[in-house]
Amino acid sequence: MELKTLYREIVNEHNLHPEHKRNLENPTMVLEGVNPSCGDDINLQLEIRDGVITDAAFNGNGCAISQASADMMIDLIMGKPLEEAMRLQKSFMGMIQGTASEEEIEELEEAAALQDISHMPARVKCAVLGWRTMREMVEKLEGE
Protein backbone atom coordinates (compact mmCIF):
# COMPACT_ATOMS: atom_id res chain seq x y z
CA MET A 1 0.00 0.00 0.00
CA GLU A 2 1.34 3.41 -0.85
CA LEU A 3 2.21 5.39 2.27
CA LYS A 4 -0.32 8.19 1.73
CA THR A 5 -3.04 5.57 1.20
CA LEU A 6 -1.97 3.79 4.35
CA TYR A 7 -2.28 7.02 6.30
CA ARG A 8 -5.62 7.86 4.70
CA GLU A 9 -7.24 4.48 5.10
CA ILE A 10 -5.89 3.25 8.41
CA VAL A 11 -3.39 5.30 10.35
CA ASN A 12 -5.13 8.67 10.44
CA GLU A 13 -8.31 7.30 11.94
CA HIS A 14 -6.47 5.53 14.76
CA ASN A 15 -4.14 8.46 15.31
CA LEU A 16 -6.70 11.26 15.33
CA HIS A 17 -9.48 9.27 17.01
CA PRO A 18 -7.80 6.54 19.02
CA GLU A 19 -10.39 4.38 20.71
CA HIS A 20 -8.04 3.16 23.42
CA LYS A 21 -6.14 6.32 24.29
CA ARG A 22 -7.28 6.74 27.88
CA ASN A 23 -6.33 5.75 31.39
CA LEU A 24 -7.50 2.51 33.01
CA GLU A 25 -9.00 2.81 36.46
CA ASN A 26 -7.40 -0.35 37.80
CA PRO A 27 -4.50 -1.42 35.63
CA THR A 28 -2.61 -4.41 37.01
CA MET A 29 0.43 -3.46 35.02
CA VAL A 30 1.77 -0.27 33.45
CA LEU A 31 4.89 0.14 31.36
CA GLU A 32 6.49 3.02 29.52
CA GLY A 33 7.79 2.19 26.06
CA VAL A 34 10.17 4.67 24.45
CA ASN A 35 11.94 5.16 21.16
CA PRO A 36 14.74 7.40 22.38
CA SER A 37 15.97 8.32 18.94
CA CYS A 38 12.65 9.82 17.83
CA GLY A 39 11.11 10.65 21.18
CA ASP A 40 8.01 8.49 20.73
CA ASP A 41 6.64 7.27 24.02
CA ILE A 42 3.80 5.05 24.98
CA ASN A 43 2.38 4.35 28.38
CA LEU A 44 0.74 0.98 28.03
CA GLN A 45 -1.75 -0.09 30.69
CA LEU A 46 -3.05 -3.63 31.02
CA GLU A 47 -5.58 -5.21 33.31
CA ILE A 48 -4.76 -8.89 33.50
CA ARG A 49 -7.05 -11.30 35.32
CA ASP A 50 -6.28 -15.04 35.45
CA GLY A 51 -3.95 -14.83 32.51
CA VAL A 52 -6.39 -12.91 30.33
CA ILE A 53 -6.08 -9.29 29.18
CA THR A 54 -9.45 -8.05 30.40
CA ASP A 55 -8.81 -4.39 29.62
CA ALA A 56 -6.11 -2.34 27.94
CA ALA A 57 -5.37 1.31 27.15
CA PHE A 58 -2.49 3.57 26.27
CA ASN A 59 -1.36 7.14 26.50
CA GLY A 60 1.57 8.83 24.92
CA ASN A 61 3.10 11.09 22.37
CA GLY A 62 4.61 10.25 19.08
CA CYS A 63 4.16 9.96 15.38
CA ALA A 64 0.92 8.80 13.86
CA ILE A 65 2.30 5.35 13.08
CA SER A 66 3.40 4.66 16.64
CA GLN A 67 0.12 5.85 18.12
CA ALA A 68 -2.11 4.17 15.54
CA SER A 69 -0.21 0.90 15.81
CA ALA A 70 -0.69 0.85 19.60
CA ASP A 71 -4.40 1.55 19.18
CA MET A 72 -4.79 -1.28 16.66
CA MET A 73 -2.80 -3.61 18.87
CA ILE A 74 -5.19 -3.06 21.73
CA ASP A 75 -8.12 -3.84 19.42
CA LEU A 76 -6.46 -7.18 18.82
CA ILE A 77 -5.30 -8.20 22.29
CA MET A 78 -8.28 -7.07 24.34
CA GLY A 79 -9.99 -10.07 25.93
CA LYS A 80 -7.27 -12.46 24.79
CA PRO A 81 -5.23 -14.83 26.96
CA LEU A 82 -1.60 -13.78 27.33
CA GLU A 83 -0.31 -16.65 25.18
CA GLU A 84 -2.61 -15.56 22.38
CA ALA A 85 -1.45 -11.93 22.69
CA MET A 86 2.14 -13.10 22.52
CA ARG A 87 1.38 -15.22 19.48
CA LEU A 88 -0.10 -12.19 17.72
CA GLN A 89 2.92 -10.18 18.77
CA LYS A 90 5.18 -12.71 17.08
CA SER A 91 3.08 -12.53 13.93
CA PHE A 92 3.24 -8.74 13.93
CA MET A 93 7.00 -8.67 14.39
CA GLY A 94 7.30 -11.33 11.70
CA MET A 95 5.16 -9.25 9.36
CA ILE A 96 7.36 -6.21 9.89
CA GLN A 97 10.48 -8.31 9.32
CA GLY A 98 8.92 -9.80 6.21
CA THR A 99 8.96 -13.37 7.55
CA ALA A 100 5.31 -13.90 8.54
CA SER A 101 3.04 -16.24 6.58
CA GLU A 102 -0.13 -15.03 4.90
CA GLU A 103 -2.28 -16.70 7.56
CA GLU A 104 -0.33 -14.99 10.32
CA ILE A 105 -0.76 -11.62 8.63
CA GLU A 106 -4.45 -12.20 8.10
CA GLU A 107 -4.96 -12.78 11.83
CA LEU A 108 -3.66 -9.31 12.52
CA GLU A 109 -6.81 -7.89 10.92
CA GLU A 110 -6.52 -4.12 10.52
CA ALA A 111 -2.93 -4.07 11.86
CA ALA A 112 -1.99 -6.05 8.76
CA ALA A 113 -2.21 -2.75 6.91
CA LEU A 114 1.13 -1.87 8.45
CA GLN A 115 2.93 -4.62 6.58
CA ASP A 116 4.42 -2.20 4.06
CA ILE A 117 6.26 -0.55 6.91
CA SER A 118 8.69 -3.43 6.42
CA HIS A 119 9.91 -1.49 3.37
CA MET A 120 10.42 1.69 5.40
CA PRO A 121 13.32 1.01 7.73
CA ALA A 122 13.06 4.46 9.30
CA ARG A 123 9.51 3.77 10.49
CA VAL A 124 9.84 0.18 11.73
CA LYS A 125 10.55 1.23 15.30
CA CYS A 126 7.41 3.39 15.29
CA ALA A 127 5.20 0.51 14.19
CA VAL A 128 6.55 -1.96 16.73
CA LEU A 129 6.72 0.32 19.79
CA GLY A 130 3.38 -0.75 21.29
CA TRP A 131 3.94 -4.41 20.54
CA ARG A 132 7.45 -4.35 21.95
CA THR A 133 6.17 -2.74 25.15
CA MET A 134 3.42 -5.33 25.49
CA ARG A 135 5.96 -8.13 25.02
CA GLU A 136 8.19 -6.67 27.74
CA MET A 137 5.22 -6.57 30.12
CA VAL A 138 4.27 -10.17 29.49
CA GLU A 139 7.87 -11.31 29.78
CA LYS A 140 8.12 -9.49 33.10
CA LEU A 141 5.01 -11.26 34.34
CA GLU A 142 6.38 -14.61 33.25
CA GLY A 143 9.63 -13.89 35.03
CA GLU A 144 7.87 -13.22 38.31
Binding site: L3, R8, C38, C63, A122
Partner: protein, 402 residues
Protein backbone atom coordinates in the same frame (compact mmCIF):
# COMPACT_ATOMS: atom_id res chain seq x y z
CA UNK B 1 14.40 30.48 -12.62
CA UNK B 2 17.11 28.04 -13.55
CA UNK B 3 20.27 27.71 -11.60
CA UNK B 4 23.41 27.15 -13.67
CA UNK B 5 25.24 25.47 -10.77
CA UNK B 6 22.84 22.55 -10.90
CA UNK B 7 24.49 21.34 -14.09
CA UNK B 8 27.51 20.41 -11.98
CA UNK B 9 25.50 18.19 -9.63
CA UNK B 10 24.54 14.92 -11.34
CA UNK B 11 22.34 13.81 -8.44
CA UNK B 12 20.18 16.93 -8.82
CA UNK B 13 19.63 16.31 -12.50
CA UNK B 14 18.26 12.80 -12.32
CA UNK B 15 14.69 13.62 -11.33
CA UNK B 16 12.50 16.22 -9.63
CA UNK B 17 13.61 15.42 -6.08
CA UNK B 18 13.68 18.47 -3.86
CA UNK B 19 16.74 18.05 -1.68
CA UNK B 20 16.30 20.30 1.35
CA UNK B 21 18.54 18.44 3.77
CA UNK B 22 21.74 20.29 3.05
CA UNK B 23 22.51 20.95 6.70
CA UNK B 24 22.85 17.19 7.13
CA UNK B 25 25.03 16.71 4.07
CA UNK B 26 25.47 18.65 0.87
CA UNK B 27 25.62 17.22 -2.64
CA UNK B 28 28.87 16.81 -4.53
CA UNK B 29 29.63 18.47 -7.84
CA UNK B 30 31.37 16.55 -10.66
CA UNK B 31 34.56 18.50 -9.94
CA UNK B 32 34.80 16.84 -6.55
CA UNK B 33 34.08 13.30 -7.68
CA UNK B 34 36.46 13.80 -10.61
CA UNK B 35 39.26 14.95 -8.31
CA UNK B 36 38.77 11.83 -6.23
CA UNK B 37 38.67 9.64 -9.32
CA UNK B 38 41.84 11.29 -10.60
CA UNK B 39 43.53 10.40 -7.33
CA UNK B 40 42.32 6.80 -7.47
CA UNK B 41 43.27 6.31 -11.10
CA UNK B 42 46.55 8.22 -11.20
CA UNK B 43 48.33 8.41 -7.87
CA UNK B 44 46.70 6.06 -5.42
CA UNK B 45 49.48 5.16 -3.01
CA UNK B 46 50.07 5.56 0.69
CA UNK B 47 51.13 9.13 1.20
CA UNK B 48 53.89 10.31 3.54
CA UNK B 49 56.13 7.28 3.42
CA UNK B 50 56.63 6.25 -0.18
CA UNK B 51 59.78 7.00 -2.14
CA UNK B 52 58.24 6.58 -5.55
CA UNK B 53 56.27 8.74 -7.94
CA UNK B 54 52.70 7.78 -7.04
CA UNK B 55 53.26 8.12 -3.33
CA UNK B 56 54.98 11.43 -3.83
CA UNK B 57 52.05 12.74 -5.84
CA UNK B 58 49.59 11.38 -3.26
CA UNK B 59 51.53 13.22 -0.57
CA UNK B 60 51.51 16.41 -2.62
CA UNK B 61 47.75 16.26 -3.12
CA UNK B 62 47.14 15.52 0.52
CA UNK B 63 49.34 18.40 1.65
CA UNK B 64 47.80 20.70 -0.96
CA UNK B 65 44.43 19.99 0.62
CA UNK B 66 45.87 21.00 3.97
CA UNK B 67 47.12 24.27 2.49
CA UNK B 68 43.74 24.85 0.82
CA UNK B 69 41.90 24.25 4.09
CA UNK B 70 44.30 26.57 5.95
CA UNK B 71 43.72 29.31 3.42
CA UNK B 72 39.96 28.80 3.44
CA UNK B 73 39.66 29.49 7.16
CA UNK B 74 42.51 31.99 7.42
CA UNK B 75 44.89 29.86 9.44
CA UNK B 76 48.35 31.37 9.84
CA UNK B 77 50.13 28.11 9.11
CA UNK B 78 48.98 24.98 7.31
CA UNK B 79 50.51 22.88 10.11
CA UNK B 80 47.60 24.10 12.20
CA UNK B 81 45.26 21.95 10.11
CA UNK B 82 44.73 18.39 11.37
CA UNK B 83 42.71 16.11 9.13
CA UNK B 84 40.07 14.01 10.86
CA UNK B 85 37.02 12.09 9.67
CA UNK B 86 34.53 14.84 10.51
CA UNK B 87 33.58 17.58 12.94
CA UNK B 88 32.65 15.07 15.63
CA UNK B 89 36.09 13.49 15.51
CA UNK B 90 37.71 16.93 15.48
CA UNK B 91 35.90 17.98 18.66
CA UNK B 92 36.66 14.66 20.30
CA UNK B 93 40.32 15.13 19.46
CA UNK B 94 40.30 18.47 21.27
CA UNK B 95 38.37 17.00 24.21
CA UNK B 96 40.59 13.95 24.68
CA UNK B 97 43.88 15.54 23.85
CA UNK B 98 43.50 19.05 25.23
CA UNK B 99 40.69 19.05 27.78
CA UNK B 100 41.60 15.86 29.65
CA UNK B 101 45.13 17.15 30.16
CA UNK B 102 44.30 20.74 31.01
CA UNK B 103 41.12 20.76 33.07
CA UNK B 104 40.77 20.10 36.75
CA UNK B 105 38.09 20.15 39.40
CA UNK B 106 36.55 23.58 39.79
CA UNK B 107 37.22 24.57 36.17
CA UNK B 108 34.26 25.39 33.98
CA UNK B 109 33.46 24.54 30.37
CA UNK B 110 30.88 26.87 28.84
CA UNK B 111 28.64 25.58 26.04
CA UNK B 112 25.31 26.80 24.70
CA UNK B 113 21.99 25.00 24.94
CA UNK B 114 21.91 25.04 21.13
CA UNK B 115 24.91 22.76 20.63
CA UNK B 116 24.77 19.74 18.40
CA UNK B 117 25.38 16.63 20.52
CA UNK B 118 28.84 16.40 18.96
CA UNK B 119 29.76 19.67 20.68
CA UNK B 120 28.18 18.63 23.96
CA UNK B 121 28.91 14.97 24.66
CA UNK B 122 32.73 15.28 24.40
CA UNK B 123 32.56 18.05 27.02
CA UNK B 124 30.25 16.02 29.24
CA UNK B 125 32.89 13.30 29.03
CA UNK B 126 35.73 15.72 29.81
CA UNK B 127 33.76 17.19 32.72
CA UNK B 128 33.05 13.74 34.17
CA UNK B 129 36.67 12.70 33.94
CA UNK B 130 38.30 15.88 35.23
CA UNK B 131 35.71 17.14 37.69
CA UNK B 132 35.19 20.30 35.65
CA UNK B 133 31.69 21.73 35.47
CA UNK B 134 29.54 22.37 32.40
CA UNK B 135 27.90 25.79 32.28
CA UNK B 136 25.19 26.57 29.72
CA UNK B 137 24.59 29.74 27.75
CA UNK B 138 20.82 30.18 27.48
CA UNK B 139 19.59 31.78 24.26
CA UNK B 140 16.63 34.10 23.82
CA UNK B 141 13.53 32.46 22.31
CA UNK B 142 14.76 33.32 18.79
CA UNK B 143 18.17 31.76 19.43
CA UNK B 144 20.10 34.98 20.10
CA UNK B 145 22.84 34.86 22.71
CA UNK B 146 22.90 38.23 24.44
CA UNK B 147 26.05 40.01 25.56
CA UNK B 148 24.66 39.99 29.09
CA UNK B 149 24.32 36.19 29.00
CA UNK B 150 27.80 35.76 27.55
CA UNK B 151 29.57 38.04 30.00
CA UNK B 152 27.73 36.64 33.00
CA UNK B 153 28.48 32.98 32.23
CA UNK B 154 32.10 33.31 31.13
CA UNK B 155 34.08 33.94 34.31
CA UNK B 156 37.59 33.49 35.66
CA UNK B 157 36.63 29.86 36.35
CA UNK B 158 36.03 29.25 32.65
CA UNK B 159 38.81 27.36 30.90
CA UNK B 160 37.05 26.61 27.63
CA UNK B 161 34.06 27.90 25.70
CA UNK B 162 32.75 25.44 23.11
CA UNK B 163 30.29 27.13 20.80
CA UNK B 164 28.58 26.38 17.51
CA UNK B 165 29.24 29.07 14.93
CA UNK B 166 25.80 28.50 13.39
CA UNK B 167 23.07 26.47 15.09
CA UNK B 168 22.02 23.45 13.06
CA UNK B 169 18.42 23.94 14.22
CA UNK B 170 17.85 27.68 14.59
CA UNK B 171 20.25 28.70 11.82
CA UNK B 172 21.31 31.61 13.99
CA UNK B 173 24.91 32.80 13.77
CA UNK B 174 26.37 33.13 17.24
CA UNK B 175 28.49 36.17 18.19
CA UNK B 176 31.67 34.10 18.20
CA UNK B 177 33.98 37.10 18.09
CA UNK B 178 32.42 38.61 21.20
CA UNK B 179 32.46 35.23 22.91
CA UNK B 180 36.14 34.78 22.05
CA UNK B 181 37.05 38.25 23.32
CA UNK B 182 35.20 37.60 26.56
CA UNK B 183 36.75 34.16 26.92
CA UNK B 184 40.28 35.35 26.24
CA UNK B 185 39.90 38.16 28.77
CA UNK B 186 38.92 35.53 31.30
CA UNK B 187 41.92 33.40 30.32
CA UNK B 188 39.83 30.71 28.59
CA UNK B 189 40.18 29.12 25.18
CA UNK B 190 37.48 28.92 22.53
CA UNK B 191 36.49 25.97 20.37
CA UNK B 192 34.18 26.80 17.50
CA UNK B 193 32.02 24.12 15.86
CA UNK B 194 32.08 25.34 12.27
CA UNK B 195 30.15 22.47 10.71
CA UNK B 196 27.22 24.71 9.74
CA UNK B 197 29.12 27.93 9.03
CA UNK B 198 32.04 26.90 6.80
CA UNK B 199 29.72 25.88 3.93
CA UNK B 200 27.96 29.24 3.96
CA UNK B 201 30.26 32.07 5.01
CA UNK B 202 33.80 33.32 4.80
CA UNK B 203 35.54 32.24 7.97
CA UNK B 204 38.73 33.67 9.40
CA UNK B 205 39.78 31.84 12.53
CA UNK B 206 42.23 34.56 13.52
CA UNK B 207 39.68 37.34 13.21
CA UNK B 208 37.10 35.27 15.06
CA UNK B 209 39.58 34.49 17.79
CA UNK B 210 39.03 30.75 17.59
CA UNK B 211 41.68 28.67 19.33
CA UNK B 212 40.12 25.51 17.92
CA UNK B 213 37.87 25.34 14.88
CA UNK B 214 36.21 22.18 13.59
CA UNK B 215 34.42 21.46 10.33
CA UNK B 216 33.44 18.64 7.96
CA UNK B 217 34.07 18.24 4.24
CA UNK B 218 30.74 16.61 3.45
CA UNK B 219 28.61 19.60 4.42
CA UNK B 220 30.53 21.86 2.03
CA UNK B 221 30.37 19.89 -1.24
CA UNK B 222 33.21 17.56 -0.27
CA UNK B 223 33.18 13.83 0.41
CA UNK B 224 32.22 12.13 3.66
CA UNK B 225 35.06 10.94 5.85
CA UNK B 226 37.27 14.01 5.77
CA UNK B 227 37.10 16.80 8.31
CA UNK B 228 39.38 19.34 9.90
CA UNK B 229 40.47 20.39 13.33
CA UNK B 230 42.23 23.72 13.28
CA UNK B 231 44.16 24.58 16.41
CA UNK B 232 46.75 27.23 17.13
CA UNK B 233 50.25 25.84 16.68
CA UNK B 234 51.28 26.35 20.31
CA UNK B 235 48.28 24.32 21.43
CA UNK B 236 48.90 21.47 19.01
CA UNK B 237 52.55 21.31 19.99
CA UNK B 238 51.69 20.83 23.64
CA UNK B 239 48.83 18.42 23.15
CA UNK B 240 49.58 14.70 23.35
CA UNK B 241 48.50 12.51 20.43
CA UNK B 242 44.88 11.38 20.37
CA UNK B 243 45.51 8.10 18.54
CA UNK B 244 48.83 6.38 18.18
CA UNK B 245 50.34 3.99 15.69
CA UNK B 246 51.69 4.39 12.20
CA UNK B 247 52.54 7.63 10.42
CA UNK B 248 52.65 9.70 13.58
CA UNK B 249 56.07 8.88 14.98
CA UNK B 250 59.58 10.13 14.74
CA UNK B 251 61.44 7.32 16.46
CA UNK B 252 60.18 4.16 18.16
CA UNK B 253 62.03 1.84 20.49
CA UNK B 254 60.66 -1.22 22.25
CA UNK B 255 59.26 0.79 25.13
CA UNK B 256 58.83 4.31 23.92
CA UNK B 257 58.43 6.63 20.98
CA UNK B 258 58.90 10.22 20.06
CA UNK B 259 56.15 11.70 18.01
CA UNK B 260 56.23 13.28 14.62
CA UNK B 261 55.94 17.02 14.18
CA UNK B 262 52.52 18.65 14.08
CA UNK B 263 50.11 18.06 12.46
CA UNK B 264 51.25 14.50 11.69
CA UNK B 265 51.33 13.42 15.31
CA UNK B 266 47.54 13.72 15.26
CA UNK B 267 47.06 11.77 12.04
CA UNK B 268 47.82 8.20 13.06
CA UNK B 269 47.40 5.46 10.49
CA UNK B 270 46.88 5.73 6.75
CA UNK B 271 45.01 8.92 6.02
CA UNK B 272 42.03 9.64 3.77
CA UNK B 273 44.10 11.13 0.98
CA UNK B 274 41.54 10.76 -1.80
CA UNK B 275 38.99 12.38 0.50
CA UNK B 276 41.43 15.23 1.04
CA UNK B 277 41.80 15.58 -2.74
CA UNK B 278 38.00 15.80 -2.91
CA UNK B 279 37.98 18.44 -0.19
CA UNK B 280 40.51 20.48 -2.15
CA UNK B 281 38.23 20.41 -5.17
CA UNK B 282 35.25 21.36 -3.02
CA UNK B 283 37.12 24.36 -1.63
CA UNK B 284 38.05 25.43 -5.16
CA UNK B 285 34.43 25.07 -6.25
CA UNK B 286 33.14 27.12 -3.31
CA UNK B 287 35.66 29.84 -4.05
CA UNK B 288 34.62 29.95 -7.68
CA UNK B 289 30.99 30.37 -6.71
CA UNK B 290 32.02 32.85 -4.04
CA UNK B 291 30.63 33.25 -0.54
CA UNK B 292 28.86 36.46 -1.55
CA UNK B 293 26.88 34.65 -4.22
CA UNK B 294 26.19 31.78 -1.86
CA UNK B 295 24.83 34.15 0.78
CA UNK B 296 22.72 36.11 -1.71
CA UNK B 297 21.19 32.95 -3.17
CA UNK B 298 20.47 31.48 0.23
CA UNK B 299 18.96 34.66 1.61
CA UNK B 300 16.72 35.00 -1.38
CA UNK B 301 15.57 31.36 -1.17
CA UNK B 302 15.16 31.46 2.60
CA UNK B 303 13.06 34.63 2.44
CA UNK B 304 10.83 33.01 -0.17
CA UNK B 305 10.52 29.83 1.86
CA UNK B 306 9.68 31.62 5.10
CA UNK B 307 7.20 33.88 3.37
CA UNK B 308 5.54 30.86 1.78
CA UNK B 309 5.33 28.96 5.05
CA UNK B 310 4.00 32.02 6.91
CA UNK B 311 1.21 32.19 4.37
CA UNK B 312 0.01 28.75 5.46
CA UNK B 313 -2.09 28.13 8.56
CA UNK B 314 -0.95 25.75 11.33
CA UNK B 315 2.78 26.35 10.81
CA UNK B 316 5.26 27.36 13.49
CA UNK B 317 8.71 28.48 12.37
CA UNK B 318 11.49 28.45 14.96
CA UNK B 319 14.23 31.02 15.26
CA UNK B 320 14.50 34.59 14.05
CA UNK B 321 11.79 36.23 11.94
CA UNK B 322 14.54 37.59 9.73
CA UNK B 323 15.40 35.18 6.89
CA UNK B 324 18.92 36.64 6.81
CA UNK B 325 19.54 35.17 10.22
CA UNK B 326 18.80 31.57 9.23
CA UNK B 327 21.82 30.53 7.19
CA UNK B 328 19.46 28.59 4.93
CA UNK B 329 18.00 26.58 7.82
CA UNK B 330 14.23 26.73 8.40
CA UNK B 331 13.00 24.57 11.26
CA UNK B 332 9.25 24.27 11.65
CA UNK B 333 6.30 22.25 12.83
CA UNK B 334 2.85 21.67 11.38
CA UNK B 335 0.21 21.66 14.10
CA UNK B 336 -1.09 18.19 14.86
CA UNK B 337 1.42 16.48 12.61
CA UNK B 338 4.41 14.65 13.97
CA UNK B 339 7.57 15.66 12.05
CA UNK B 340 8.37 12.02 11.24
CA UNK B 341 5.00 11.63 9.57
CA UNK B 342 5.57 14.92 7.74
CA UNK B 343 8.96 13.77 6.44
CA UNK B 344 7.59 10.35 5.47
CA UNK B 345 4.68 11.69 3.42
CA UNK B 346 6.95 14.29 1.84
CA UNK B 347 9.30 11.48 0.84
CA UNK B 348 6.48 9.96 -1.21
CA UNK B 349 6.41 13.32 -3.02
CA UNK B 350 10.19 13.21 -3.65
CA UNK B 351 10.96 15.79 -1.02
CA UNK B 352 13.90 15.20 1.30
CA UNK B 353 13.88 16.99 4.65
CA UNK B 354 15.13 16.11 8.10
CA UNK B 355 12.80 15.43 10.99
CA UNK B 356 13.53 14.65 14.60
CA UNK B 357 15.64 16.15 17.31
CA UNK B 358 18.51 17.06 14.97
CA UNK B 359 21.07 15.78 17.49
CA UNK B 360 20.14 18.72 19.69
CA UNK B 361 17.87 17.31 22.39
CA UNK B 362 18.61 19.99 25.01
CA UNK B 363 17.54 22.61 22.45
CA UNK B 364 14.32 20.69 21.67
CA UNK B 365 13.57 20.77 25.38
CA UNK B 366 14.32 24.50 25.46
CA UNK B 367 11.92 25.04 22.55
CA UNK B 368 9.35 22.89 24.32
CA UNK B 369 8.98 20.41 21.48
CA UNK B 370 9.79 16.73 21.11
CA UNK B 371 10.97 17.10 17.59
CA UNK B 372 10.77 19.36 14.57
CA UNK B 373 10.95 19.28 10.79
CA UNK B 374 13.84 21.08 9.13
CA UNK B 375 14.29 22.30 5.58
CA UNK B 376 17.85 23.41 4.88
CA UNK B 377 18.84 25.11 1.64
CA UNK B 378 22.01 25.58 -0.32
CA UNK B 379 22.92 27.81 -3.23
CA UNK B 380 22.05 25.16 -5.81
CA UNK B 381 18.41 25.04 -4.76
CA UNK B 382 15.91 27.03 -6.79
CA UNK B 383 12.92 29.32 -6.36
CA UNK B 384 10.85 26.76 -8.23
CA UNK B 385 11.78 24.09 -5.68
CA UNK B 386 10.86 26.42 -2.83
CA UNK B 387 7.45 27.13 -4.39
CA UNK B 388 6.79 23.45 -5.03
CA UNK B 389 7.87 22.65 -1.47
CA UNK B 390 5.52 25.23 0.05
CA UNK B 391 2.67 23.90 -2.05
CA UNK B 392 3.29 20.38 -0.78
CA UNK B 393 3.60 21.54 2.83
CA UNK B 394 0.15 23.06 2.38
CA UNK B 395 -1.19 19.58 1.64
CA UNK B 396 0.46 17.70 4.49
CA UNK B 397 -2.35 18.14 7.01
CA UNK B 398 -4.78 16.80 4.45
CA UNK B 399 -2.63 13.73 3.85
CA UNK B 400 -2.48 13.16 7.59
CA UNK B 401 -6.23 13.17 7.98
CA UNK B 402 -7.21 16.75 8.84
Amino acid sequence: MTNAYREDFPILLQDDTIYFDNAATSQRPRQVTEAMRYFDENCNANPMRGLYRWSIEATERYEQARADAAELIGAADSREIVFTRNTTESINLAAYSWALHNLKEGDEIVVSVMEHHSNLLPWQMAARQTGAKLVFLEPEPDGTLTEQEITSKITEKTRLVAIGHVSNVMGVTNPVKLIAQTAHKAGALVLVDGAQSTPHMQVNVQELGADFYAFSGHKMLGPMGIGVLYARKELLEEMPPFLSGGEMIEYVSRESATYAEIPHKFEAGTVNASGAAGLSAAIRYLKNVGYDTIREREECLTARLMEGLRGLPYITIYGSEDPKKHCGIVTFNIEGCHPHDVASVLDTENVAIRAGHHCAQPLMKFLGVGSTARASLYFYNTEEEVDRFVEKIGKVRGWLGY
